[in-house]
Protein backbone atom coordinates (compact mmCIF):
# COMPACT_ATOMS: atom_id res chain seq x y z
CA UNK A 1 0.00 0.00 0.00
CA UNK A 2 2.74 2.39 0.97
CA UNK A 3 4.66 1.94 -2.30
CA UNK A 4 1.40 2.44 -4.12
CA UNK A 5 0.85 5.76 -2.36
CA UNK A 6 4.37 6.88 -3.14
CA UNK A 7 3.82 6.25 -6.83
CA UNK A 8 1.29 9.10 -6.94
CA UNK A 9 3.08 12.39 -6.65
CA UNK A 10 -0.06 14.26 -5.52
CA UNK A 11 -0.50 11.83 -2.62
CA UNK A 12 3.12 12.24 -1.54
CA UNK A 13 2.63 16.00 -1.70
CA UNK A 14 -0.53 15.83 0.39
CA UNK A 15 1.19 13.53 2.88
CA UNK A 16 4.11 15.92 3.36
CA UNK A 17 1.94 19.03 3.58
CA UNK A 18 -0.34 17.28 6.04
CA UNK A 19 2.55 16.22 8.25
CA UNK A 20 4.04 19.68 8.39
CA UNK A 21 0.70 21.35 9.01
CA UNK A 22 -0.24 18.83 11.73
CA UNK A 23 3.01 19.46 13.55
CA UNK A 24 2.74 23.25 13.35
CA UNK A 25 -0.97 23.32 14.29
CA UNK A 26 -0.46 21.08 17.33
CA UNK A 27 2.28 23.30 18.77
CA UNK A 28 0.31 26.53 18.25
CA UNK A 29 -2.71 24.75 19.72
CA UNK A 30 -1.08 24.32 23.14
CA UNK A 31 -0.84 28.06 23.61
CA UNK A 32 -4.15 28.87 21.91
CA UNK A 33 -6.14 26.39 23.98
CA UNK A 34 -4.53 27.51 27.25
CA UNK A 35 -5.22 31.15 26.48
CA UNK A 36 -8.85 30.30 25.70
CA UNK A 37 -8.33 31.31 22.09
CA UNK A 38 -9.44 28.01 20.50
CA UNK A 39 -12.54 29.65 19.06
CA UNK A 40 -10.33 32.05 17.14
CA UNK A 41 -8.97 29.12 15.15
CA UNK A 42 -12.51 28.04 14.39
CA UNK A 43 -13.55 31.55 13.37
CA UNK A 44 -10.53 31.93 11.12
CA UNK A 45 -11.28 28.73 9.25
CA UNK A 46 -14.71 30.08 8.34
CA UNK A 47 -13.19 33.35 7.22
CA UNK A 48 -10.83 31.23 5.12
CA UNK A 49 -13.79 29.53 3.51
CA UNK A 50 -15.34 32.88 2.65
CA UNK A 51 -12.09 34.03 1.11
CA UNK A 52 -11.75 30.80 -0.88
CA UNK A 53 -15.27 31.26 -2.24
CA UNK A 54 -14.54 34.81 -3.31
CA UNK A 55 -11.28 33.80 -4.96
CA UNK A 56 -13.15 31.07 -6.88
CA UNK A 57 -15.74 33.61 -8.02
CA UNK A 58 -13.10 36.05 -9.22
CA UNK A 59 -10.88 33.21 -10.57
CA UNK A 60 -7.92 34.36 -8.50
CA UNK A 61 -5.15 32.19 -7.09
CA UNK A 62 -6.71 31.01 -3.78
CA UNK A 63 -3.63 31.63 -1.59
CA UNK A 64 -3.30 35.23 -2.81
CA UNK A 65 -6.76 36.03 -1.48
CA UNK A 66 -6.97 33.81 1.59
CA UNK A 67 -3.62 34.55 3.24
CA UNK A 68 -4.05 38.32 3.64
CA UNK A 69 -7.76 38.07 4.49
CA UNK A 70 -7.24 35.43 7.18
CA UNK A 71 -4.17 37.16 8.65
CA UNK A 72 -6.04 40.47 8.98
CA UNK A 73 -9.04 38.67 10.49
CA UNK A 74 -6.75 36.97 13.00
CA UNK A 75 -5.61 40.32 14.35
CA UNK A 76 -9.18 41.64 14.48
CA UNK A 77 -10.46 38.54 16.29
CA UNK A 78 -7.59 38.68 18.77
CA UNK A 79 -8.27 42.33 19.60
CA UNK A 80 -11.99 41.60 20.00
CA UNK A 81 -11.41 38.65 22.36
CA UNK A 82 -8.84 40.50 24.44
CA UNK A 83 -10.95 43.61 24.83
CA UNK A 84 -14.36 42.29 25.69
CA UNK A 85 -15.82 39.35 27.49
CA UNK A 86 -18.33 39.05 24.64
CA UNK A 87 -15.57 37.95 22.28
CA UNK A 88 -17.20 34.62 21.54
CA UNK A 89 -20.34 36.18 20.11
CA UNK A 90 -18.26 38.45 17.87
CA UNK A 91 -16.37 35.40 16.65
CA UNK A 92 -19.64 33.60 15.90
CA UNK A 93 -20.92 36.65 14.00
CA UNK A 94 -17.77 36.90 11.90
CA UNK A 95 -17.76 33.13 11.28
CA UNK A 96 -21.30 32.89 10.01
CA UNK A 97 -21.00 36.06 7.94
CA UNK A 98 -17.88 34.74 6.25
CA UNK A 99 -19.58 31.39 5.68
CA UNK A 100 -22.56 33.12 4.07
CA UNK A 101 -20.35 35.20 1.79
CA UNK A 102 -18.44 32.06 0.83
CA UNK A 103 -21.57 30.04 0.01
CA UNK A 104 -23.01 32.86 -2.11
CA UNK A 105 -19.70 33.32 -3.92
CA UNK A 106 -19.31 29.60 -4.59
CA UNK A 107 -22.85 29.15 -5.87
CA UNK A 108 -22.49 32.21 -8.11
CA UNK A 109 -19.22 30.89 -9.46
CA UNK A 110 -21.12 27.90 -10.84
CA UNK A 111 -20.83 24.16 -10.99
CA UNK A 112 -17.08 24.18 -11.63
CA UNK A 113 -16.42 24.82 -7.97
CA UNK A 114 -16.70 21.98 -5.55
CA UNK A 115 -18.32 23.25 -2.36
CA UNK A 116 -17.61 19.96 -0.68
CA UNK A 117 -13.88 20.27 -1.21
CA UNK A 118 -13.89 23.72 0.39
CA UNK A 119 -15.86 22.62 3.41
CA UNK A 120 -14.38 19.21 4.06
CA UNK A 121 -11.08 19.36 2.22
CA UNK A 122 -9.65 17.33 -0.60
CA UNK A 123 -6.19 16.01 -1.04
CA UNK A 124 -6.65 16.27 -4.79
CA UNK A 125 -6.80 20.04 -4.42
CA UNK A 126 -3.21 20.30 -3.18
CA UNK A 127 -1.40 21.75 -6.17
CA UNK A 128 2.36 22.09 -6.55
CA UNK A 129 2.22 25.75 -5.54
CA UNK A 130 0.04 24.91 -2.56
CA UNK A 131 2.55 22.28 -1.51
CA UNK A 132 5.45 24.71 -1.68
CA UNK A 133 3.59 27.46 0.17
CA UNK A 134 2.38 25.01 2.82
CA UNK A 135 5.88 23.61 3.31
CA UNK A 136 7.38 27.08 3.68
CA UNK A 137 4.65 28.29 6.05
CA UNK A 138 4.90 25.23 8.26
CA UNK A 139 8.68 25.49 8.40
CA UNK A 140 8.51 29.16 9.38
CA UNK A 141 5.93 28.32 12.05
CA UNK A 142 8.02 25.50 13.51
CA UNK A 143 11.19 27.59 13.57
CA UNK A 144 9.57 30.65 15.14
CA UNK A 145 7.81 28.47 17.67
CA UNK A 146 11.09 26.86 18.70
CA UNK A 147 12.99 30.17 18.75
CA UNK A 148 10.38 31.90 20.91
CA UNK A 149 9.29 28.85 22.90
CA UNK A 150 10.09 30.34 26.31
CA UNK A 151 8.56 33.71 25.49
CA UNK A 152 5.38 32.07 24.20
CA UNK A 153 5.26 29.97 27.38
CA UNK A 154 5.64 33.02 29.62
CA UNK A 155 3.03 35.00 27.70
CA UNK A 156 0.62 32.05 27.86
CA UNK A 157 1.15 31.23 31.53
CA UNK A 158 0.86 34.73 32.92
CA UNK A 159 0.60 37.63 30.49
CA UNK A 160 0.49 40.27 33.24
CA UNK A 161 3.71 39.05 34.86
CA UNK A 162 5.49 38.79 31.52
CA UNK A 163 4.44 42.28 30.51
CA UNK A 164 5.19 43.79 33.93
CA UNK A 165 8.71 42.39 33.92
CA UNK A 166 9.52 43.80 30.53
CA UNK A 167 8.62 41.14 27.97
CA UNK A 168 6.92 42.45 24.85
CA UNK A 169 3.83 40.27 25.17
CA UNK A 170 1.97 42.12 22.42
CA UNK A 171 4.62 41.02 19.95
CA UNK A 172 4.36 37.34 20.90
CA UNK A 173 0.57 37.39 20.86
CA UNK A 174 0.70 38.93 17.38
CA UNK A 175 3.18 36.27 16.30
CA UNK A 176 0.82 33.58 17.55
CA UNK A 177 -2.09 35.13 15.63
CA UNK A 178 -0.04 35.41 12.44
CA UNK A 179 1.22 31.83 12.60
CA UNK A 180 -2.26 30.48 13.41
CA UNK A 181 -3.74 32.30 10.43
CA UNK A 182 -1.08 30.92 8.11
CA UNK A 183 -1.41 27.36 9.35
CA UNK A 184 -5.18 27.49 8.96
CA UNK A 185 -4.94 28.74 5.39
CA UNK A 186 -2.56 26.02 4.27
CA UNK A 187 -4.23 23.26 6.31
CA UNK A 188 -7.67 24.10 5.00
CA UNK A 189 -6.88 22.60 1.60
CA UNK A 190 -6.59 19.11 3.03
CA UNK A 191 -8.90 19.16 6.03
CA UNK A 192 -11.44 21.67 4.82
CA UNK A 193 -12.58 24.77 6.64
CA UNK A 194 -15.03 22.93 8.87
CA UNK A 195 -12.46 20.48 10.19
CA UNK A 196 -9.15 22.36 10.27
CA UNK A 197 -9.64 23.80 13.75
CA UNK A 198 -9.62 20.25 15.13
CA UNK A 199 -5.91 20.04 14.19
CA UNK A 200 -5.30 22.94 16.57
CA UNK A 201 -7.58 21.95 19.42
CA UNK A 202 -7.44 18.14 19.62
CA UNK A 203 -3.70 17.46 20.09
CA UNK A 204 -3.20 19.86 22.99
CA UNK A 205 -6.48 18.90 24.65
CA UNK A 206 -5.44 15.25 24.46
CA UNK A 207 -1.92 15.94 25.73
CA UNK A 208 -3.20 17.99 28.65
CA UNK A 209 -5.25 15.05 29.85
CA UNK A 210 -2.18 12.91 30.41
CA UNK A 211 0.81 15.24 30.80
CA UNK A 212 1.49 17.82 33.49
CA UNK A 213 4.33 20.05 32.31
CA UNK A 214 4.31 22.52 29.44
CA UNK A 215 7.18 20.84 27.65
CA UNK A 216 5.76 17.34 27.89
CA UNK A 217 2.35 18.60 26.78
CA UNK A 218 3.95 20.26 23.73
CA UNK A 219 5.92 17.13 22.82
CA UNK A 220 2.99 14.76 23.28
CA UNK A 221 0.67 17.07 21.30
CA UNK A 222 3.14 17.10 18.40
CA UNK A 223 3.54 13.30 18.44
CA UNK A 224 -0.20 12.68 18.73
CA UNK A 225 -0.91 15.06 15.88
CA UNK A 226 1.55 13.39 13.52
CA UNK A 227 0.44 9.86 14.45
CA UNK A 228 -3.26 10.70 14.09
CA UNK A 229 -2.59 12.30 10.71
CA UNK A 230 -0.69 9.26 9.43
CA UNK A 231 -3.30 6.76 10.63
CA UNK A 232 -6.16 8.87 9.26
CA UNK A 233 -4.39 9.40 5.95
CA UNK A 234 -3.70 5.69 5.36
CA UNK A 235 -7.15 4.63 6.56
CA UNK A 236 -8.79 7.01 4.14
CA UNK A 237 -6.70 5.61 1.29
CA UNK A 238 -7.35 2.01 2.29
CA UNK A 239 -11.10 2.30 2.76
CA UNK A 240 -11.74 5.19 0.33
CA UNK A 241 -12.94 7.49 3.13
CA UNK A 242 -12.77 11.29 3.09
CA UNK A 243 -9.27 12.20 4.31
CA UNK A 244 -10.09 15.15 6.55
CA UNK A 245 -12.92 13.38 8.33
CA UNK A 246 -10.81 10.23 8.84
CA UNK A 247 -8.05 12.25 10.49
CA UNK A 248 -10.48 14.01 12.82
CA UNK A 249 -12.08 10.65 13.69
CA UNK A 250 -8.67 9.29 14.74
CA UNK A 251 -8.14 12.37 16.94
CA UNK A 252 -11.53 11.75 18.46
CA UNK A 253 -10.62 8.15 19.34
CA UNK A 254 -7.33 9.30 20.90
CA UNK A 255 -9.27 11.87 22.91
CA UNK A 256 -11.58 9.20 24.30
CA UNK A 257 -8.58 6.99 25.17
CA UNK A 258 -6.80 9.91 26.89
CA UNK A 259 -9.93 10.72 28.89
CA UNK A 260 -10.07 7.06 29.94
CA UNK A 261 -6.42 7.11 31.02
CA UNK A 262 -7.04 10.26 33.04
CA UNK A 263 -10.10 8.74 34.68
CA UNK A 264 -8.27 5.51 35.57
CA UNK A 265 -5.41 7.50 37.05
CA UNK A 266 -7.78 9.51 39.19
CA UNK A 267 -9.36 6.30 40.47
CA UNK A 268 -6.00 4.66 41.27
CA UNK A 269 -4.81 7.88 42.98
CA UNK A 270 -7.85 7.84 45.21
CA UNK A 271 -7.22 4.22 46.13
CA UNK A 272 -3.49 4.67 46.57
Amino acid sequence: MITEIFSYSFLVRALLVGLFVSLAASLLGVSLVLRRFSMIGDGLSHVGFGALGVSALLSLQPMIVTIPVVVISAFILLKVSEKSKGGDSSIALISSSALAIGVIAVSTAGINTDLNAFLFGSILSVSRTDGLVAGAVSLVTLLSYLCFYHQIYATTFDTAFAKATGINTGRYTALLALLTALVIVVGMRILGSLLISSLIIFPSSIAMKVEKTYRSVSILAAIESVVAFLIGFFMSYLFSLPTGASIVAVHMIFFVIASGVKGLRAISDRRG
Partner: protein, 235 residues
Protein backbone atom coordinates in the same frame (compact mmCIF):
# COMPACT_ATOMS: atom_id res chain seq x y z
CA UNK B 1 18.03 56.95 46.17
CA UNK B 2 14.62 57.15 44.51
CA UNK B 3 13.64 54.22 42.28
CA UNK B 4 10.15 55.14 41.09
CA UNK B 5 8.34 58.45 41.23
CA UNK B 6 5.28 60.14 39.86
CA UNK B 7 4.13 63.77 40.08
CA UNK B 8 0.57 65.05 39.82
CA UNK B 9 -0.68 61.90 38.12
CA UNK B 10 -4.20 61.18 36.98
CA UNK B 11 -4.93 57.46 36.85
CA UNK B 12 -7.93 55.60 35.50
CA UNK B 13 -9.40 53.44 32.78
CA UNK B 14 -10.57 54.42 29.32
CA UNK B 15 -10.66 58.13 30.05
CA UNK B 16 -12.44 57.67 33.41
CA UNK B 17 -10.26 59.18 36.14
CA UNK B 18 -10.17 57.28 39.44
CA UNK B 19 -7.36 59.16 41.20
CA UNK B 20 -6.04 62.59 40.36
CA UNK B 21 -3.26 64.79 41.67
CA UNK B 22 -1.31 61.77 42.91
CA UNK B 23 2.36 62.27 43.79
CA UNK B 24 4.51 59.57 45.30
CA UNK B 25 8.03 58.21 45.30
CA UNK B 26 9.62 54.94 46.28
CA UNK B 27 13.16 54.91 47.64
CA UNK B 28 15.69 52.11 47.53
CA UNK B 29 15.16 49.75 50.47
CA UNK B 30 11.67 51.09 51.14
CA UNK B 31 8.78 48.89 52.27
CA UNK B 32 5.62 50.49 50.89
CA UNK B 33 2.17 49.18 51.75
CA UNK B 34 -0.68 50.22 49.47
CA UNK B 35 -3.99 50.05 51.30
CA UNK B 36 -7.52 51.33 50.86
CA UNK B 37 -11.09 50.41 50.05
CA UNK B 38 -12.10 48.31 47.09
CA UNK B 39 -12.57 50.32 43.94
CA UNK B 40 -10.49 53.22 45.26
CA UNK B 41 -7.76 52.71 42.68
CA UNK B 42 -5.26 50.25 44.18
CA UNK B 43 -5.23 47.93 41.20
CA UNK B 44 -5.25 50.83 38.77
CA UNK B 45 -2.21 52.17 40.58
CA UNK B 46 -0.28 48.91 40.34
CA UNK B 47 -1.17 48.36 36.72
CA UNK B 48 -0.01 51.85 35.90
CA UNK B 49 3.27 51.56 37.82
CA UNK B 50 3.95 48.25 36.08
CA UNK B 51 3.22 49.76 32.68
CA UNK B 52 0.23 47.51 31.99
CA UNK B 53 -1.91 50.62 31.44
CA UNK B 54 -0.90 54.25 30.79
CA UNK B 55 -1.65 57.11 33.18
CA UNK B 56 -4.31 59.52 31.90
CA UNK B 57 -2.06 62.44 32.82
CA UNK B 58 1.60 62.69 33.77
CA UNK B 59 4.01 59.81 33.70
CA UNK B 60 5.72 57.41 36.03
CA UNK B 61 9.46 57.64 36.07
CA UNK B 62 11.85 54.80 36.81
CA UNK B 63 15.02 56.36 38.18
CA UNK B 64 18.21 55.46 40.01
CA UNK B 65 19.17 53.10 37.19
CA UNK B 66 16.06 50.94 37.66
CA UNK B 67 15.08 49.28 34.43
CA UNK B 68 11.82 47.70 33.40
CA UNK B 69 13.42 44.28 33.33
CA UNK B 70 14.59 44.58 36.93
CA UNK B 71 11.16 44.45 38.52
CA UNK B 72 9.79 41.35 40.20
CA UNK B 73 6.03 40.99 40.29
CA UNK B 74 3.78 38.69 42.27
CA UNK B 75 0.34 39.03 40.69
CA UNK B 76 -2.94 38.12 42.32
CA UNK B 77 -3.35 34.35 42.33
CA UNK B 78 -6.79 34.67 40.80
CA UNK B 79 -5.21 35.84 37.54
CA UNK B 80 -3.41 32.53 37.07
CA UNK B 81 -5.03 29.41 35.70
CA UNK B 82 -4.88 26.72 38.33
CA UNK B 83 -5.04 23.92 35.76
CA UNK B 84 -2.18 25.17 33.59
CA UNK B 85 0.17 22.28 32.77
CA UNK B 86 3.60 23.35 33.92
CA UNK B 87 6.44 22.12 36.09
CA UNK B 88 7.58 24.26 39.01
CA UNK B 89 10.95 24.73 37.29
CA UNK B 90 9.29 26.00 34.11
CA UNK B 91 7.39 28.61 36.12
CA UNK B 92 10.42 29.79 38.09
CA UNK B 93 12.73 29.93 35.06
CA UNK B 94 10.26 32.09 33.18
CA UNK B 95 11.07 34.77 35.78
CA UNK B 96 14.48 35.43 34.27
CA UNK B 97 13.20 35.58 30.71
CA UNK B 98 13.24 39.38 30.78
CA UNK B 99 17.04 39.35 30.73
CA UNK B 100 17.43 36.06 28.91
CA UNK B 101 19.20 35.69 25.57
CA UNK B 102 19.35 32.63 23.37
CA UNK B 103 17.31 29.48 22.89
CA UNK B 104 18.00 27.57 26.08
CA UNK B 105 18.26 28.52 29.72
CA UNK B 106 21.89 28.54 30.85
CA UNK B 107 23.12 26.37 33.69
CA UNK B 108 23.66 29.58 35.65
CA UNK B 109 19.99 30.48 35.28
CA UNK B 110 18.97 26.96 36.27
CA UNK B 111 21.11 26.98 39.40
CA UNK B 112 19.75 30.40 40.32
CA UNK B 113 16.22 29.03 39.99
CA UNK B 114 17.11 26.14 42.28
CA UNK B 115 18.65 28.56 44.75
CA UNK B 116 15.45 30.65 44.83
CA UNK B 117 13.31 27.57 45.37
CA UNK B 118 15.63 26.49 48.15
CA UNK B 119 15.36 29.91 49.77
CA UNK B 120 11.59 29.49 49.94
CA UNK B 121 11.73 25.86 51.04
CA UNK B 122 10.49 24.43 47.76
CA UNK B 123 13.66 22.75 46.47
CA UNK B 124 12.18 19.26 46.61
CA UNK B 125 9.25 20.34 44.43
CA UNK B 126 11.34 21.62 41.51
CA UNK B 127 10.08 18.99 39.10
CA UNK B 128 6.57 18.64 40.48
CA UNK B 129 3.53 19.80 38.63
CA UNK B 130 2.51 23.36 39.49
CA UNK B 131 -1.21 22.59 39.33
CA UNK B 132 -0.91 19.86 41.96
CA UNK B 133 0.61 22.12 44.64
CA UNK B 134 -1.36 23.69 47.46
CA UNK B 135 -2.23 27.39 47.33
CA UNK B 136 0.56 28.32 49.72
CA UNK B 137 3.10 26.29 47.75
CA UNK B 138 1.97 27.86 44.48
CA UNK B 139 2.42 31.27 46.07
CA UNK B 140 6.00 30.39 47.05
CA UNK B 141 6.73 29.25 43.51
CA UNK B 142 5.39 32.52 42.13
CA UNK B 143 7.48 34.43 44.68
CA UNK B 144 10.55 32.49 43.52
CA UNK B 145 9.71 33.49 39.97
CA UNK B 146 9.40 37.13 41.02
CA UNK B 147 12.79 36.92 42.73
CA UNK B 148 14.33 35.51 39.53
CA UNK B 149 13.19 38.67 37.79
CA UNK B 150 14.67 41.15 40.23
CA UNK B 151 17.38 41.93 42.70
CA UNK B 152 15.99 45.38 43.41
CA UNK B 153 12.26 45.79 43.55
CA UNK B 154 9.44 43.41 44.31
CA UNK B 155 5.83 44.28 43.61
CA UNK B 156 3.16 42.20 45.32
CA UNK B 157 -0.58 42.35 44.69
CA UNK B 158 -2.66 40.93 47.56
CA UNK B 159 -0.13 38.14 48.13
CA UNK B 160 -1.96 36.58 51.07
CA UNK B 161 -5.47 36.27 49.66
CA UNK B 162 -6.45 32.63 49.84
CA UNK B 163 -3.64 31.69 52.24
CA UNK B 164 -4.17 30.43 55.77
CA UNK B 165 -2.88 32.34 58.80
CA UNK B 166 0.32 30.32 59.19
CA UNK B 167 1.30 30.55 55.53
CA UNK B 168 0.49 34.26 55.61
CA UNK B 169 2.80 34.72 58.60
CA UNK B 170 5.57 32.80 56.84
CA UNK B 171 5.18 34.93 53.71
CA UNK B 172 5.47 38.15 55.72
CA UNK B 173 8.58 36.72 57.37
CA UNK B 174 10.13 36.04 53.96
CA UNK B 175 9.31 39.56 52.76
CA UNK B 176 10.87 41.04 55.93
CA UNK B 177 14.03 39.05 55.28
CA UNK B 178 14.13 40.10 51.63
CA UNK B 179 13.63 43.74 52.60
CA UNK B 180 16.41 43.37 55.16
CA UNK B 181 18.64 42.07 52.38
CA UNK B 182 18.07 45.32 50.49
CA UNK B 183 15.15 44.52 48.19
CA UNK B 184 12.59 47.31 47.89
CA UNK B 185 9.04 46.10 48.49
CA UNK B 186 5.75 47.52 47.22
CA UNK B 187 2.71 45.57 48.39
CA UNK B 188 -1.01 45.98 47.90
CA UNK B 189 -2.80 44.50 50.90
CA UNK B 190 -6.05 44.39 52.84
CA UNK B 191 -4.23 43.21 55.92
CA UNK B 192 -3.21 45.78 58.51
CA UNK B 193 -0.42 43.68 60.02
CA UNK B 194 2.30 44.19 57.42
CA UNK B 195 1.35 47.88 57.34
CA UNK B 196 1.71 48.10 61.13
CA UNK B 197 4.73 45.87 61.59
CA UNK B 198 6.95 46.02 58.53
CA UNK B 199 6.08 48.96 56.31
CA UNK B 200 8.06 52.17 56.28
CA UNK B 201 5.77 54.09 53.98
CA UNK B 202 2.02 53.89 53.37
CA UNK B 203 -0.02 54.82 50.35
CA UNK B 204 -3.71 54.87 51.24
CA UNK B 205 -6.39 55.23 48.59
CA UNK B 206 -9.90 56.37 49.44
CA UNK B 207 -12.74 57.62 47.30
CA UNK B 208 -12.18 61.07 48.77
CA UNK B 209 -8.45 61.23 48.07
CA UNK B 210 -5.23 59.60 49.08
CA UNK B 211 -2.57 59.64 51.79
CA UNK B 212 1.11 59.15 51.08
CA UNK B 213 3.73 59.34 53.78
CA UNK B 214 5.74 57.54 56.45
CA UNK B 215 4.00 54.89 58.55
CA UNK B 216 3.97 56.86 61.81
CA UNK B 217 2.39 59.90 60.20
CA UNK B 218 -0.19 57.62 58.56
CA UNK B 219 -1.36 55.99 61.77
CA UNK B 220 -1.67 59.46 63.31
CA UNK B 221 -3.85 60.64 60.42
CA UNK B 222 -7.62 60.29 59.97
CA UNK B 223 -7.56 57.52 57.32
CA UNK B 224 -4.90 55.67 59.31
CA UNK B 225 -6.94 55.80 62.50
CA UNK B 226 -10.00 54.59 60.62
CA UNK B 227 -8.07 51.68 59.19
CA UNK B 228 -6.89 50.75 62.70
CA UNK B 229 -10.45 50.96 63.99
CA UNK B 230 -11.87 48.81 61.19
CA UNK B 231 -9.25 46.19 61.91
CA UNK B 232 -9.98 46.20 65.62
CA UNK B 233 -6.70 47.83 66.64
CA UNK B 234 -8.12 51.07 67.98
CA UNK B 235 -7.36 50.61 71.63
Amino acid sequence: MTLIKGDDLTLGYEGQAIISGLSFSVDEGDYLCIVGENGSGKSTFIKTVLGLIDPLKGHIEYCGGLRKNEIGYLPQMSGIQRDFPSSVMEVVLSGCLNRHRGLFYSSKEKSKAKEMLEKLGMADKAFSSFQELSGGQQQRVLLSRALMATEKLLFLDEPTSGLDARTTGELYGMLRALNGAGITIMMVTHDIHPALNDARTILHFAHSGYFFGPKDAYFGSVPGKEFLKESGHDN
